[in-house]
Amino acid sequence: MASEHAVGTVEHHKETFISKYVFSYDHKMIGKQYMITALVWALIGMALSWIMRIQLAYPAEQMPWLETVLGRYAEGGILAPEYYLAMMTMHGTIMVFFVLTAGLIGTFGNFLIPLQIGARDMAFPFINMLSYWTFFLASVIMLLSFFVESGPAAAGWTVYPPLSAIAAAIPGSGAGQTLWLLSIGVFIVSSLFGSLNYIVTVLNMRTKGMTMGRMPLTVWAIFIAAILGLLAFPVLLSGAIMLLLDKNLATSFFIPAGLYIGGELLSYEGGSPILWQHIFWFFGHPEVYIVALPALGICSEVIATYARKPLFGYKAMVASLLAIAFLSFIVWGHHMFVSGMNPFLGSVFVLTTILIAVPSAVKVFNWLATLWRGKLHFTPAMLFAIGLVSLFITGGLTGIFLGNAPIDIQLHDTYFVVAHFHFVMGAAALFGIFAGIYHWFPKMYGRMMNNTMGKLHFWLTFIGIYLIFFPMHFMGTTGVPRRYYAFTEFEYTMQYGGMNEFITIAALITGAAQIIFLINFFGSMYLGKKAERNPWNATSLEWTTDDPMPGHGNWKGEIPMVYRGPHQFSTPEGKEDYVMQSDNTGFEGLEREN
């Protein structure tokens, strides 16, 4: 089977612009394509959140510029409620699927797996290329839905039927929702392609000496997230197919009999809206970890590198990733405590849900132990990783409230939930992306990013995230429901008028701070200081490539062998404060023997 392993011996045919930058087979280019696409989506998603925030801070205020920007979505300068909901739905969809899922696992899975396990490319580069372009197709379809007459999908990113299935219920449930379902279907195919590659590459393509137990934590996390994706996404595919049939061919899988919508009695018969919720959340909760795990993996690796310490309890860290992944499949019901599901089921889900707090706590304590007595280097990547730990603690702890069913009765679908998942999934995963980009930028583009701008970017973002989302806990506790177009209808929600304005201003500033990142990112690509091969004195294999920016095939000569575990910093034996995995000190001669 030795020949199978040599897939990486890439034929060096002539590279054209198209084969190098467009339909590239090179995992590194594909990773970058994912990254840039996700960044574009992130900007769109952020712009949508700005529109929502402006509406929430200044409800019913006529802003003619809004009509200039949004056209028919804001006739007369007022964002109509149905389009507010459309913006909200698209914000959620874009951020969850196109930014956090594709942006994390797509970018770093592709870029890092072969480099960190010592392979020349993915197992099947062609499928890898297809994976990106199907993702691109999904993006295009989703983008198209902004231009259909009735507007994009507006039933929330969870698309609960009947609201999502019946066009008369809300305008977005017309053509927009159909395109949404198609786009997600294509996205699932793309994710399947990606997962196949990640899993098989990790299993089969590791270089000599790279056991599973010596893989950097990022690879572990992405590997596990890929398995999650592989098992969770197909369930959503089934659901999406059924919903599409319900929507466009009048079947009634999810739609019960006797619905009376828009002055008309509909002819559906017998389906169950709850079934969709089960199917969706069976996918939806693992999805949270598909997003979160790679970020946690990156965070672990970055913290170890810049604390100059081995990751504390490597085995426990891997075990906790596995535990979280396993538990994530049996907790979906906690999204449905008050959905009319049998309350006995609720009890089971409480147990499994809150148990996730245990492996999560292990992760946090291990990170803290890694920082303890380290020699911390505050690069932007490190700052974002520390920030991630903070956000993960904050968001994780609020999960204990929401996971305990009696409290969830009060907090379900309030701003408390919004705060919770924006901390633990949204912002934490975003910080994972940033930490990853700052850390691996030298390997991606052969140049360094600007340190000062990076730090400024971190501090504005970190403080901004807290200012935006922390107050939402207060609103949620008071019972301010989420997905509200305005808080003008109830006295007790009106007391948060000032707070909403405050959050909006914080969101605008935090969003604007991302411009610093964009300037730094694109500027450094061309103007950054030339990077060395291993600028951070890190230990994993990607830093052993001949150039700071390796070409297709990754290593010019032979792929280095691995002699030790990852994150070997400040070992008592080593001369320097790091020992690379490929360093054969003490193992001289072993390579030739084989």
Partner: protein, 258 residues
Amino acid sequence: MKTRYLVPMILLAAFLFAACGNGEEDRRADRRPAEAVEIDPATAATAVTTVHFEGTAPDPQRISMAADRSCQELHTEPVYDRVVIVNEDGTLANVFVYVKEGLEGKSFPVPGEGAVLDQVGCMYTPRVFGLQVGQELIMRNSDATLHNVHASPTANREFNIGQPVQGMENTRTFNQEEVMIPFKCDVHPWMSAYAGVLPHPYFGVTGEDNGTVVLDNLPPGEYVIAAWHEEYGEQTQRITLGESERQELTFTFRSDPA
């Protein structure tokens, strides 16, 4: 090495196809103009239609606006759901009278001025009205509460517009003839209105002061005149109008179909 691009090319083609397919939808709105009709005022005929009511009108239902206190505050006196309004002279109000047949293949200029559907005191004003194909319908919210105008046509495209702010206006047009299109406000279940969309200007609604609609400036010819009421349905009569002729028609709606 060409084949390696085959699959991505197919994907790209699929995308372009999808993109073009989308454009198709918008082009459907263009309609070929039919021959415009010149009406000679010297020969134009007139049909005067009066709608009578026989029997006893049902008791008006009282609307409880307690459901939305911002609506309730707008009314000091009880509000009634006035589906059947019988005038003092025995005529019936809110009947939509129009030329149903006899003008096929002719086209008429579309008025530049839009028809207005206002929402005042959490009621639609007017309750029954007509407009021409292609004429703008201006929907206005004069209340300081959320209304949404949810039209459920069958031939035209359905729409549902939220109007959260006082004084907000939205416009839409209908591309197909349709009598009647129901309008509903999902926020206030008691609100409803009906619009008749016709390709010509020969229509009117009986008022609460008199139950007569004058359809004038009609080219001489044979017509079917129809009268529609939301509770009692539609009645039709066939008439022939000579040059400059003025004919009077009477429709009678009965409370119980005896």
